[in-house]
Symmetry: C2
């Protein structure tokens, strides 16, 4: 049974937005890959020069971060036991819901291909399911457990203590930012019951995810 | 000061070996990338059909696993504080020594390019330094601290207990297998002072690495 709902929020994962389809960096990448501009992932490694004038540019176009975080979560025993439900909420409010135990490709190019297919076709059934909803709507849908956002702006807690609370609660939702810089949007931040800080410095999403899941496992081990 | 030497051993990271340079999967990948066959990384995602007859084929050609593991190690506060020395020992006995605090590219294609450059040019100074040596020779060089291999074949220990021993020892070497399947070679296994098992099931290298480093940090926090 699911013990933990893990949400990667405002993730830097999206198809190239229409407003930059005709920018040279996008056209040349799409041409090289023989795809339409609107059917490839926005990726700062290739589209940097085209991203300058995008709104919130510094938070977007980093599918590599989402990939690494998903690998850390899905490689954990807790996930492999079917006890973690994973949701990737993205910058443009698309949510990818991952069926427990689903394996994520370790090769980045295969991951990219899978995400592109998923965001273009938007399946509503199967191992990866797509919905259009804000992070706050997602948290309401996942409820009724507590919703905890992790952020350096939060109230300091030791990770073992926080993980124990989450494990004891049994159906909590923990939200980590899936973007390289900056903070949760005001709307997302308002949807948390609590904002928690687990380290004195900002950590990358995948590092936070790996530690959190491990500590939840440790908390259960002591409860058992 | 360095507290932990982290060795990823027999890692599935190498240039395409000469014996399969002329195999069709290798030729077509090299041609597409406009590189020589001997200057690209062996990668099962692209060279699967060419790898059939390679010795220990199932342990080789997974640079993606090495990448993810390095990202988990180098994203940790312990590494960012300059307290982890990382060595990537590879299947063909090449060792890449990573200067503490060096950042590893998160984008897989950039990582691949960096590793190819490194394995072709074999720099002996700088942030990434290359030597030709076996894992056992590496452990002797890194000594005099204890050398612990992590494996499901080892003696069961709780990770917090093991991490505490490592942290208390102060200059220990922990070795994790950098390959997708199988076990350490007999020669590598003989070079450990102890073989330790930290979970009841086999875990991926990056999952083990992330947990180990986190628990070493926790152990220090309590020591301080």
């Amino acid at each position: 049974m699911v013990l933990l709902n893990f949400v990667l929020a405002e993730s830097a994962l999206e198809l190239v937005p229409r407003e930059i389809w005709s920018r040279p960096a996008v056209v040349s990448d799409a041409t090289r890959r023989e795809r339409k501009a609107g059917e490839i992932l926005l990726d700062r490694s290739f589209h940097h020069s085209a991203m300058e004038r995008l709104r919130d540019s510094e938070k977007r176009g980093r599918p590599d971060l989402v990939h690494i975080t998903l690998l850390d979560v899905t490689g954990s025993p807790l996930y492999l036991d079917g006890r973690v439900m994973v949701y990737v909420h993205t910058y443009p409010d698309t949510v990818i819901e991952i069926e427990p135990k689903t394996r994520i490709p370790k090769n980045y190019l295969r991951f990219r291909g899978l995400m592109e297919k998923c965001l273009v076709e938007r399946p509503t059934t199967g191992l990866l399911r797509v919905r259009q909803m804000s992070c706050s709507a997602l948290l309401k849908m996942v409820g009724p457990g507590g919703a905890y956002g992790l952020s350096v702006r939060g109230k300091q807690s030791s990770l073992p203590d926080f993980a124990k609370r989450v494990a004891d609660e049994g159906n909590a939702c923990v939200v980590v930012g899936g973007f390289p810089h900056g903070h949760f949007s005001a709307e997302t931040a308002r949807s948390f019951d609590e904002l928690v800080r687990i380290d004195s410095r900002p950590l990358e999403a995948h590092v936070v995810a790996a530690r959190l899941i491990y500590q939840v496992e440790e908390a259960i081990r002591f409860n058992d």
